[in-house]
């Protein structure tokens, strides 16, 4: 039995279905992220777990107990809001003591526990300050302390780092992780930032338009995306379609874009129609052909030097756009717009879409023909 269980949960607002039959679980102490673009239903899902929205259908269980019909204040939930929602009329100490006050903890014990939790989030000596006098990062820690002080069953976080600037965001990412581990608390974290979700989570659930697209470890989702949405939402990639052929005992994909390259033979038989994704950072680039089945020509349209990497925007024979990203130092002077280059891809790095079943393959065949 999992610690948090969300089963077939649906939420409708009038005619709009914000969350459509979503199921996932979080184990005790696990860090699960709900990842998706804005409007995908991730925040609504989180709010239903918190009890701030009531699901139209489905069941939510926390610690084995059905809490679906319980209001927020009868669930043991610690929640960090996007803008922290620290009470401006109360001091930091009173803010953190609030959940304890609601549980009728005596004042002296309250003070003690507030001091202790402030210590654990590395923010001593702010008890008497007003939250508005603190920096963004400090407010974030206070919000976390307030959500954790009463030892809730589960910690919910709604894009808590989005209000911070980039450098601070990356520092806080590490800090949130440390605190989560230290408190050993089951955490459900909502974000639209793939890097954030991947860096922090044990497991990621990708939501698309109210539906759950895929869930699994960050590695699993990156390497084996289940759907076009996941493949394109996570990182930069180029989608190509084609038919599998055999050459020299290898599986070669002849794409509709006019290029052919080797794919892992285990994934498809000759004659199959396939959709594949080429991740920008898994592609190599060279001014000269090196021969073999692992490369194809392309023409550079633009190069973007971004410091830690360089992006090459290329077009294939039929005009399909392709992105290649090169890490670290790249001798840019070798590449100009208009140059023909050779793009390399190792067969095992080709991401093959899962979804095609035989009947769907035929449909793709027809559209290809």
């Amino acid at each position: 039995m999992s610690h948090v269980e969300v089963e077939h949960v649906t939420k409708r607002f009038g005619d709009v279905t914000a969350v459509d039959d979503v199921s996932f679980t979080a184990e005790e102490g696990e860090f699960v992220s709900l990842l998706g673009p804005s409007g995908c239903g991730k925040t609504t899902t989180l709010r239903m777990i918190a009890g701030l929205e009531m699901p139209s259908e489905g069941t939510i269980r926390i610690g084995g107990e059905d809490v679906t019909d319980r209001p927020a204040y009868e669930r043991e939930i610690g929640m960090v809001f996007q803008h922290y929602a620290l009470f401006p009329h109360k001091t930091v100490g009173e803010n953190i003591g609030f959940p304890l006050k609601m549980r009728d903890v005596p004042k002296a014990e309250r003070r003690e526990r507030v001091a202790e939790v402030l210590d654990r989030v590395h923010l001593p000596d702010v008890m008497e300050r007003s939250p508005e006098d603190l920096s963004g990062g400090q407010q974030q820690r206070v919000a976390l302390a307030r959500a954790l002080v009463f030892e809730p069953d589960v910690l919910l976080m709604d894009e808590p780092l989005s209000a911070l600037d980039r450098v601070l965001r990356e520092q806080m990412r590490v800090e949130v992780q440390r605190i989560q581990r230290e408190f050993d608390i089951t955490t459900i974290y909502v974000t639209h930032d793939q890097a954030e979700a991947f860096a922090m989570s044990d497991r990621v659930a990708v939501l698309d338009d109210g539906r759950l697209s895929q869930q699994g470890s960050p590695l699993d989702i990156y390497e084996n995306p289940d759907s076009e949405f996941v493949a394109t939402f996570i990182g930069e990639s180029t989608k190509l379609q084609g038919t599998v052929g055999q050459r020299d005992g290898r599986s070669i994909l002849d794409t509709t874009a006019g290029v052919a390259f080797e794919i892992p033979s285990a994934r498809a038989g000759a004659g199959d129609a396939l959709t594949v994704y080429l991740r920008a950072e898994k592609l190599g680039i060279a001014p000269e052909s090196r021969g073999g089945h692992n490369e194809f020509p392309a023409e550079i349209t633009t190069t973007n030097y971004l410091g830690e990497k360089t992006q090459f925007y290329c077009t294939l024979a039929d005009g399909t756009e392709l992105v290649v990203a090169q890490q670290g130092f790249t001798s840019l002077e070798k590449y100009d717009a208009g140059d023909t280059v050779y793009v390399q891809i190792a067969p095992e790095d080709v991401v093959v879409a899962h979804s095609e079943r035989p009947d769907e393959r035929r449909a793709v065949d027809e559209s290809v023909a």
């Binding site: 927020a72 809001f81 929602a85």
Partner: protein, 332 residues
Amino acid sequence: MSDHQATADDVRRTGIERYRHRLRTTALRSGPVLGTIRFLKRRKRLLTVTQAGLGIAWMVLFLLAPLLYVLALSFWQRGAGGVVVQEFTLANYQEILLQNVAIFGLELNNLYLIILWQSLKIGLMTTALTLVLGYIPGYFLGRTQSRFRTVLLLLVILPFWVPLIIRYYAWILVLGNQGMATSLLGVFGIQSGGFLYSELAVVTGLVQVLLPFMILPIYNSVNKIDDEYVESAKTMGASPLRAFYEVTLPLSLPGVSAGSILVFILAVGSFMAPALLGGPGQTMVANLISQTFGQSFDWPLASAMAIVYLVVLFALITVFNRFVGLEEVFGE
């Protein structure tokens, strides 16, 4: 003719040209950019002075000057037939503050002080009632997601389109001895001779007229409270009632204090409500001052009354601000 002479001729031409030339040369001497900025700055200051000056002139002419005149009047004497004699005296203040006062004997016979106290009492009652009656609609309007909110807000302001005097006359129809209130109570077998010319009638009228001044600031203040505050209180274990008490109520206090001050000031200074709905026992300070000015022709005495009233009200507001001021509102 040399170029130099030509320039000198130009300068000599007309006043306007001389002015332009001077402007050009000063502008050039400090460089074209700095010169332009300096010129614009001078013009801008002129604009600011004009704008602020108009406002200040308005205040001086229509508020400060009359007030100073009233202050001066209060220290002058009343001559025969209501003529103002411009000779210094404290008699006016003595009459309204010290005559017939026996505070320790608990007997207060001073007419002015009795009426001032009466006004403050009616002001307090009106404020308390509008607060109770105004918080609920103010809170509702601030919280509701209804698409009729604008219409409802319009309904709050709508009575302003009916002149004050008509609204008070309407209350005469409702509260009079043959009025709606009497007949309605008659249905339940309760006999009454109407409610007019009483404190109840004055306060009722004032509450109805001043309610929007309470509702609007409270609405504004509640409307500004982020939903996240209330929701976060709920996730931390606060029932809706406790969340209201701990979060919404304290955060709406700025609206409550703004509304209370507005209503209190307007109620204490009201003239028409006691004149139309009150009896002799409900004479308020504005009525007394008006009578002293208009019927008794004692301008110096009336001025002293007005000054004392202003000072008392000002002192009360200062004390109120001190204790319910914004710092207090945000502390616990």
